[in-house]
Symmetry: C2
Subunit: 190 residues, 2 copies
């Protein structure tokens, strides 16, 4: 039995390694991003993680355990993706400044015929940012390839007054929930 991570994210791989996961293989899904229209954040991430897991499961053995995840940043009533340019990054950071947003991760675990999708949500509270700080942050290059225009495990940590929820969920893999899901499939990390 191998544990297959259906994601190219180096952060997710690092988290699984941190947990001492043995026989870990990485097989990134292409991830056709088709979401039901009008889907809420929870349904969106579960649906996307399920699509990734099912795609990779086709190439794996019945005894393998496939883990896929999808993470989004949700502010008010809409999704914040990766900024397309620096102006958009400034606007996103101005919106997050002094406010709370949510990070949703959907996670799907497949073993044989069993397909289980769940999600986790964490609240992230930004302190008030000055325009100087936002400009300085953008000049580091960190925000440009990140959903919501910040990295929680990077210089962006300076902006985060507190979180409520699973920290690793904000990084892209809700560890506590994943442990429970794997246990249901007979995979004990401890």
């Amino acid at each position: 039995m191998a544990i297959i991570l259906a994601s190219a994210s180096p952060r997710r791989k690092a988290i699984l390694e941190m947990l001492g996961t043995k026989d870990l293989k990485v097989m990134p899904a292409k991830g056709e991003e088709i979401v039901p229209p009008d889907a809420g954040p929870a349904e969106t991430v579960e649906s996307l993680s399920r699509a990734k897991a099912l795609e990779v499961a086709k190439k794996c053995s019945q005894s393998d355990v496939i883990i896929a995840a999808d993470t989004i940043v949700w502010f008010g009533d809409r999704l914040l993706g990766k900024p397309s340019d620096e102006v958009e990054a400034v606007n996103m950071l101005r919106e997050l400044s002094g406010n709370c947003h949510e990070v949703y991760t959907g996670i799907t675990v497949i073993k044989g015929e069993s397909v289980n999708s769940e999600h986790e949500v964490s609240k992230v509270f930004f302190r008030k940012l000055t325009d100087e700080e936002i400009k300085g942050y953008i000049s580091t290059g960190e925000p440009m390839d990140k959903a919501g225009a910040y990295g929680v495990q990077g210089i962006g940590a300076l902006f985060i007054e507190r979180i409520e929820g699973d920290f690793f969920n904000v990084m892209g893999l809700p560890v506590c929930r994943l442990g429970k899901m794997l246990k249901k499939q007979g995979v004990k990390l401890l």
Copy 2:
């Protein structure tokens, strides 16, 4: 001007490097652990961090910025230190199981004549653990050198349902607060 970390903790060094801190030097304090009798957790960590910072400041130039920190795990009305043996580790983990505890970090920043001590507190919520999980965790060796008998950035993450507060505070250095304290001393990380 150099930034001096008065701590031997590799995690604190890694956090400062994550923030892009330039001209960072590590000069661990011996840290004479003298705390006022009957001190509460906040007073304890501020006092210990201040002692470490003052000790190292003596060896530094007036233009250097010295950062020291001290972190404790507080459960109910008492401090949980590092377990002295496996039996104590089992007992600590049984106590934390299904409960909330607090992690306090005191932080002192010195520049020239200015000595500023503050603290940050984060709540950590453990899920219910089985005795089998506790035994399995102890057999990994991870808990034995850690206050409260768990590591937040390790296999212990499997136990943490959620936190409320600064995650990096639980790792030993409250990033958001440190950024504000450095700014007061004219050190801008952004």
